[in-house]
Symmetry: C2
Subunit: 430 residues, 2 copies
């Protein structure tokens, strides 16, 4: 008996029969003695349909009005879910983000949740109702305007509600059985993880695993909310995202080597491009000028690599990766800088992919990098860039080598399952 927060994405509420199925699932949790709060996304493709309508009316709609428009999608699904629950003989109350007390900053289109004041939710729970909350949306603290949280926002809504209500668990329902050691479309022998730490999940999300969104995992880690990622199509246990790598046994101790999986999974990402600034004078401040220009253009960089400069010329090359969608903007910003910085040229490559190996255990296993790279070499994959964190190694490879690199790495670390599990893999909606 406690508070359970559940999240259902667009594919789980795509039509009337899907909504009825979700309602039965919600009622089960209530029957089990829990107070139940549910965050829902808009139905199926309805957000894209609204965006299409907006583009027909205006090529560049104001962000405030776009938020007004898009938030209607969750309003529709939440009311329908509440009706379906009521049809099962249970009482449900739906609340918009604003009514639910989801307070955000005022950045339309990608607002951040800054507080949740769940007074109306608590009252409704106290009266015995199941509570349905529109995901992906809130109201800005200062301007009282309706905001949206950006893609994946409903995951974050669910975790934020769980934190504010001190829930026992935040269940993220999706169309796959949990978090896998690799994308099963590439590696049929990929295994479902029973548990993964917040840090590993953050790295997986940042490296292209689409199952959970970065901000949702950050929020859960900051508030220590256990996330249970599971399928809305089965009763199976999914993947628990919980615990920190700091709580794992000390690297190098006997406990650690016995109990701890070295690698959580292999992630990949085909959404990035690589830019190389060739022949940058190796002087103090030149790199800063380059990255200040990119920052001013609102571009988020991912991997950044600078090698030591060639002794003869005192010039160096700086490479970085960024979302392909930002490629043109970045190149324009850098081109305007050429004479001032005095670099030789710019290279742009969007036929790349990133493959990342993630695992808390690699802290205590020095051979991980060597095994990773030799696996890639045996598969004939050439490495373009390398970047590492405490629990991650990422490489940039040619786009057509991504599948081979993921499969080879998965095998090299003995992650392949004995039997191939039947899974359906797809995006998790928003």
């Amino acid at each position: 008996m406690g508070i359970v927060v559940q999240k259902y994405g667009g594919s789980s509420v795509s039509d009337a029969s899907a909504i009825k199925r979700v309602a039965r699932r919600i009622v089960e949790a209530k029957k089990a003695g829990n107070d139940v709060v549910v965050a829902v996304s808009a139905m199926g493709d309805s957000t894209d349909e609204l965006l299409d309508l907006a583009s027909q009316v205006s090529p560049l709609p104001p962000a405030r009005e776009l938020d007004m428009l898009l938030t209607s999608g969750e309003r529709i699904s939440m009311a329908l879910v509440a009706m379906a629950i009521s049809d099962l003989g249970y009482s449900a109350r739906s609340f918009t983000g604003s009514q639910a007390g989801v307070i955000t900053d005022s950045v339309h289109g990608k607002a951040k949740i800054i507080d949740v004041t769940p007074g109306r939710i608590s009252d409704a729970l106290g009266e015995g109702h199941i509570v349905i909350v529109a995901g992906f949306q809130g109201v800005s603290a200062d301007t009282k305007e309706i905001t949206t949280l950006g893609r994946g926002g409903t995951d974050t809504t669910a975790v934020a509600l769980a934190a504010a209500l001190d829930a026992d668990v935040c269940e993220i329902y999706t169309d796959v059985d949990g978090v896998f050691t690799a994308d099963p479309r590439i590696v049929p022998a990929a295994r479902k993880l029973d548990r993964v730490t917040y840090e590993e999940m953050l790295e997986l999300a940042a490296c292209g695993a689409k199952i959970l969104h970065l901000r949702c995992v950050e929020y859960a880690r900051n508030h220590d909310i256990p996330i249970h990622v599971r399928s809305s199509f089965s009763q199976l246990d999914g993947t628990w995202v919980t615990g920190s790598i700091d709580d794992l046994p000390e690297p190098g101790t006997q406990e650690s080597s016995m109990e701890q999986a070295i690698i959580a999974g292999v992630a990949h990402d085909r959404s990035e491009a690589k830019v190389t600034v060739v022949g940058v004078p190796d002087k103090v401040g030149e790199a800063a000028r380059i990255f200040e220009a990119l920052s001013a253009a609102q571009i988020n960089l991912d991997m950044i690599v600078q090698n030591v400069s060639a002794a003869a010329t005192n010039l160096t090359d700086i490479s970085f990766t960024l979302p392909r969608s930002d490629g043109q903007t970045a190149m324009a910003a850098l081109a305007g800088l050429q004479s001032a910085v005095g670099f030789d040229s710019l290279l742009y490559d969007d036929h790349i992919g990133k493959v990342s190996l993630i695992g808390a255990g690699m802290r205590s296993h020095p051979g991980v990098t060597a095994k990773f790279f030799s696996g890639l070499a045996q598969a004939g994959v050439n490495i373009g860039m390398i970047s590492t964190s405490e629990i991650r190694i990422s490489v940039v490879v040619s786009e057509e080598d991504v599948d081979a690199a993921v499969a080879a790495t998965h095998t090299a670390f003995d992650l392949d399952a004995d039997e191939v599990e039947a899974v359906v893999y797809g995006g998790s909606g928003r």
Copy 2:
């Protein structure tokens, strides 16, 4: 230079191109130097589509959740209208009913506006924005729940905003040129009225003219807001609804007979049924028991007729009309009363129509009733029931006689236009 409130129904915002047309119209009013506030309905058939979705999920959805669902329709259209205005280089801000300060009672599905606190609207106007408000909706004063105003609610929203903002005019845009002397589909020679008093418009609306909804006209009369009913497809002047019959020249004076049109129009209504309670004992309190039972069943009656009782039996018949949709409920309520009241039997007839002649001038022209009835007689129409008010005479006729009765009456009172105007006639949305 003043404040203009405009209302656009669902057919005026049915798709992207219609929304762009409406936006141009709104911008014209702004260019003319006005502060502009617009109430919009949901796009085209979208409300019916939402109702269909609801029925797929639950045969009897809770009224609160139905209001949550339906209000998303106006949210979509208002945001799109604001975007289209912005695309024309003007600044627009959309507001939900709740944000616009439309305060209602808490009767979900047919809430009444009890106050409008337009602080955010006034602020936005002061900043130079065009304001778009979601019609048909508000927020309840006590429970802070989202409510809807029922069919025709957006008309009422517009008039209530006009009253709260002390607007110069409330323009109701529709798909016809104004209020006509009869339904042009039945009487091609029907003429557009240039002006009609609130009282006449109330009677027309109550008697089946679908162009304006009763509550909207009541609200306008109570707050003395001039309504201008006009086409969103032309620049023509439409019909002004303004002024009271009390301000018209005294009946019988020379002015009155010279200036005042006797008849405003002929309305008809095919949505009612007739119930007759046969053989009711003519005792004090028997009629009251019958109508108390109907009231307890939440049935709104229209015409009620009781004749003097036959001297021999001391029994009387009571007939009344009511919406056909309430017919079954009414018959069930009355059947349960038979032994207690002791009436003979119940008759039910839903093959009826009501034809009403409306005009402030009939107060001063005693021959109106005679001319009406002789016109019907010449057309071979039999009269089933009669009811009158100060400025209206209504008769119940057989359903198949409605068209002939309307046409004959229109001709009898010389309302036929010399030339038939080209008009499109339809419902005015909600």
